[in-house]
């Protein structure tokens, strides 16, 4: 038993509600038992991972759902020293899932090492197939097996393992370049299925080696029907308006929508139409920051804002998200004249953050610049 997000995640491509078109295409793609490298991209909570896992299941049968977590350690011999990289992985007999971006700047080694390792060890399926090819008796076996399995008649055909890489866009460019060679070299034994939110941060060579699948955020209507569906499965009566509000507040992220629904249910059930939808704390905090920015534009308040920003960063809120949210919050309360400017500012500084190292410096530069132009504007208007 887990959160509804995980509980109601569709397991097979057939059961997908939201991206049913993509699901159909994917099903066709892998129906031959082979699959190219895949790259799913789309915003958070759009269903990339669900698609991935369903595709894997389509390829390998229910065996791909027998997962285990493992804390893997790779010992990597560099020319000068030996380093150890530890990563948490989720794996089944057929695939291995990992987020190399968690290794930070060492992700290059992880990418190279893990793929080589996978290429070295054949999947049990491949072994099985080889053996069954060897002997004529295998045919009958296979037939009987197919009957028993029913769902995954093609599973035997896959002689490769699948490496599932999360957040490819967060890999350093070194790692991405490392990927591009290994992708080709070991493509016989190992296929890559990758997910990312921002396709433009994935280098072109990697993109061109993959079939890129766009997983867009579901539309408002879809969200609403999804929420309603889950509520139905949980045997809840969900008022129409609340469903709408949840769909709205979720920012078109299915994960958030379902989590919100669950929190709502915990807070009050039976639902009320005008029930409060709780936002995550970090969003509230950013709202507060925006308020204090607009309230006073002095160096003193700037340094107070700095403290608050530090807090957000400490709690692992990504800086680019802070930029986006903060700009959004500020924009709600701004004159049209400034709206254009603030978007430009936020974009500029977010870009510069990419080129820099310390988020706080860039965030503060953004806030300072905004404060300065806001003050100038307010003096001009109100005198």
């Amino acid at each position: 038993m887990s959160l509804w997000v995980d509980k109601h995640r569709p397991r097979s491509l057939d059961k997908l509600v939201v991206h049913s078109r993509q699901a159909k295409q994917l099903k066709k793609l892998v129906s031959a038992g082979d699959c190219p490298h895949l790259l799913f991209y789309g915003p958070s909570g759009a269903g990339k991972k669900t698609l991935c896992l369903a595709t894997l299941r389509e390829l390998f049968g229910p065996g791909a759902e027998k997962l285990k977590t493992e804390q893997k350690t790779w010992q990597i011999q560099l020319p000068t020293r030996k380093i150890e990289v530890e990563l948490a992985t989720v794996s089944s007999n057929y695939h291995l899932e990992l987020s190399p971006s968690e290794a930070g700047r060492r992700d290059v080694h992880v990418v190279q090492e893990v793929i080589k390792e996978m290429a070295k060890t054949k999947s049990s399926n491949a072994m099985f197939q080889e053996q069954s090819n060897m002997f004529g008796a295998a045919k009958g076996q296979q037939g009987s097996q197919e009957k028993k399995k029913g769902e995954a008649p093609k599973s035997v055909k896959c002689t490769y393992k699948v490496l599932l890489i999360n957040e490819v866009d967060r890999l350093t460019s070194h790692a991405q370049h490392a990927l591009r060679r290994t992708m080709e070299k070991y493509s016989k034994q190992c296929r890559l299925v990758m997910t990312c939110t921002n396709l433009s941060k994935v280098i072109d060579p990697v993109q061109s080696r993959c079939v890129c699948v766009r997983v867009k955020a579901p539309k408002q209507g879809e969200m609403k029907s999804l929420v309603a569906q889950v509520a139905e499965k949980e045997r809840l009566t969900l008022p129409e308006t609340l469903a709408e509000r949840i769909a709205e507040g979720s920012n078109r992220s299915m994960r958030r929508a379902l989590l919100m629904l669950e929190t709502c249910k915990i807070n009050r059930y039976p639902f009320e139409e005008n029930q409060e939808i709780q936002l995550p704390e970090w969003e509230l905090f950013i709202k507060e920051i925006a308020q204090s920015i607009l309230k006073e534009q002095t160096p003193k308040s700037l340094f107070q804002v700095r403290e608050m920003l530090y807090k957000l960063l400490v709690n692992c809120v990504p800086a680019d998200l802070i930029f986006a949210k903060l700009a959004q919050e500020l924009m709600c309360k701004l004159d049209d004249e400034l709206k254009y400017e603030i978007v430009k500012m936020a974009a500029t500084f977010e870009h510069r953050l990419r080129l820099g190292t310390k988020p706080i410096i860039h965030l503060e530069a953004f806030v300072a610049k905004f404060m300065s132009s806001y003050k100038e504007w307010s003096i001009r208007i109100f005198g």
């Binding site: 997962l67 987020s99 700037l302 957000l312 809120v317 300072a368």
Partner: protein, 886 residues
Amino acid sequence: MDDLDDMLDMEAEMELEEQMDLLGELEEEEKSGKGTSPKRRKVGGGEAAPASLGMTQELEQLVGQSVDPETERAELTENELQELAATQGDDNPSDEDCEEEEESFLPVRYLYQTEGRDHVSVTLEGGKRVYCTVNGEQREKKQVAGRKRKGKTGGFLAVPVRQLIEQVERKRVQKIIQESENLSKSVDGADLSQAKRADVAGEKLLVSKYAPRRFIELLSDEQTNREVVRWLKLWDHYVFGKEQVKPAKPKREEAGSFLSKNEWLKTGNDKKKSSRAGNAYTNEALDKDGRPSQKVLLFCGPPGFGKTTLAHIAAKQCGYRTVEVNASDDRNAGALNKKIMDAMQMQSMKDGRPTCLVIDEIDGAMGGSDGKGAINMLVQLINAKRSDASTAAGVVEGEGSSRRKGKGKKADILTRPVICICNDLYANALRPLRDVARIFHFKKPDSRKISARLRRICQLEKIEAEGNALGILSQKSDGDIRSCLNTLEFLQRQQQKLSMSSLHAMGIGAKDKVDNVFHVMESVFNTNSKLGEADGGPSTSVPRASFEAKGGASKKRQRVTQFYQKLMNFGETDLLLTSCFENLSNVKYQDINLVKTSQAAEWFVFADEMSKGISDLNDFSLNKFRVAAPIALNTLASAPGRPQLTWAKVDGNARYQHRVQESVLHSWMSNLQPAAKSGMNTTTAVLDVIPHLCKSLVPRGLRPVAPELMRAKERVTLKRIVDHLVSYGLSLKMNKQGGDSDGNFRMSRTSYSLQPEIDKFHRYEGLPSNEIYMNSAVKQIITYEQETRKIRSKREAGVKESLEDKVKSKPKDSASKKSGGEERKKHHEHWLSKMRTAVENKQELRRMGGKKGGTICREVAYPMLYTYHEGVTNAVKRRVVLKELV
């Protein structure tokens, strides 16, 4: 023809004889220092041989010039020749060989060229070795012939030999006079006269040339100097005392048992023989062996303060010969041990002085395992103690390295003073040594003393120095005498004089030193920060650029350049930038529209981009652009007066906390169940999942009653909470401070937080706190449920695992079963045994089930079937007859 030959020979012989005499004379005159006299004396040729050989060459040159074709013969007066002949007659036989050498005139380079005749080998001045043949009979003939002829002919030379000789003589005299003049000049330089002579001998760096040679010449702190000597004197009793230990007889030395420092400090109160050190401190009392209680000195201080010099001079003053071990030597434990042993057991053959070991740069190259070993060895040696004579010899307790040399019979103890020198006292490797050594911190020598010494040296070296330039130089170098002298030397070589402008503009003498970050920051944030001040120290009279706008553009440029230089010299740009970033709020500068602040912030952004470039590309040349940010800050956000600056720690703290949070997150996520884990990544976990998860754990409407008595709704809530706790690997932990302070109505409730502390992620100041409040009874219920759930799941997992182990072996069997004939034979034994075990296992399972009752049996039996269906293998199901396989 023969005649002619003879004659030539004769002539040459005579000449050479003449020269030899003369030169011998000169030599003696030189030695006696009397000056020269034209009077010729008879000197043993043999004595003068080495010197005359050198002179011969000189003469040869002269002769070569004057000798013309044979027809042109110079006339030697008869008298002269007679005299020559007379001197010749007196020659004693021992001289003959030498004469012969010269006589043969053309010494041959190789032995075979002597054609087997008698020869004498001679090493010339340049180290060349030549062979001169000897022919006695011929010589006699020639002598006769020469006497016959002396009336008839003069010589072959254009200039008579005597004149030539006189020429040489005159030259020689002049040289000597000049030298003596030089000497008398340099004698004025009193104590440094030695140095001057050294200069004559060969080129020497000023540093070594003018290194202090006597105790009173030392520039380092008086107090330190004296105490060092006093410490060395403490050794006198042991090293030079009546009952002087003779290291040459080490057999007498008894095995020393290891005693800790404290112990021998206690026992070291035996002061009966410490009268020599009567005025010494009490803690400098000698130990039982009569050695000082602290057996090693450790000098520490920045380079150029005169540590090494002091060590050498103090040792010399106290009558020791110094043996230096520095970074250029091999310094592992074994090598150092050998050095120390050598130093302790040997005495200089020349003057019989005992040795004092100086281990220089002990911190630098002593790093690494080798260095550590060496230092440990040293410490062991220091702590080793000669035990009383009564104790049994040959017992050493665990002193492997110190025992190594003594065949296990004796323990080496430190019998000679050892002085260690380091720059960084707190280097890791030195830790053991710090505890046992007497430490001297070297202070900066008085800059006036330094500049006085520099002036003296400038006088002697004839380096022109402008008035106060030397003072500035000594200040600039921050007490580093070595760097001062090197700067002077540089100028001397460049044929330049030391002037203010050169000092200032060239940046010479500026030492690469660690500046205080506060100092630099102050100059950044202070409008009035003057660059002359920043560079040369406050008391210098450098012509400062005034920045009050009247200077114009060039002044400003100069100012910026100097400031830039200073910032570059500071080196730690990272630290400077963070410090400036954090201290910007402390500066009170005028800024109405926040324009300046935002510009300053953008400069920080720029610097940060450069930092990224540096770290990514390893291109440190980008550092020069980073420095631009503080310069811009100075123009944007500086204020008059001294700002309140604080040490930058906010950023560091934040980064540390961030790391902590990250590690919490990672450890939590890595232990998640796979289904939950693959559904999120770290970002989504923080942003979406954790806040909601934490909210879902609030036990709303849960009464503290037994689960059996709960309403259906409550049971659902309880189940949900426990489910979430278990499936996300969380547990509740009571907060220490509790929620009591929150309000009276919550008195009965306690706040709980999660373990791992993922609830921290959604806790922000100023927002309603999200701690989970609940009655302790409710908590108990939840924990109880959680525990039972855990136990249950563990048991299930255990059963499953054990079954899986058993099933695991089967896929192979199935594979081999299906394999063809050859394969089959190969694996015959292998799979057969496995089959047997599989069957046995099965039987065992069945038996167990029968014994323990139906339920377990079923539980066991089910997963078995399940694994089978999983499709891993279908081997079990097939009936196999043994016949089929064999």
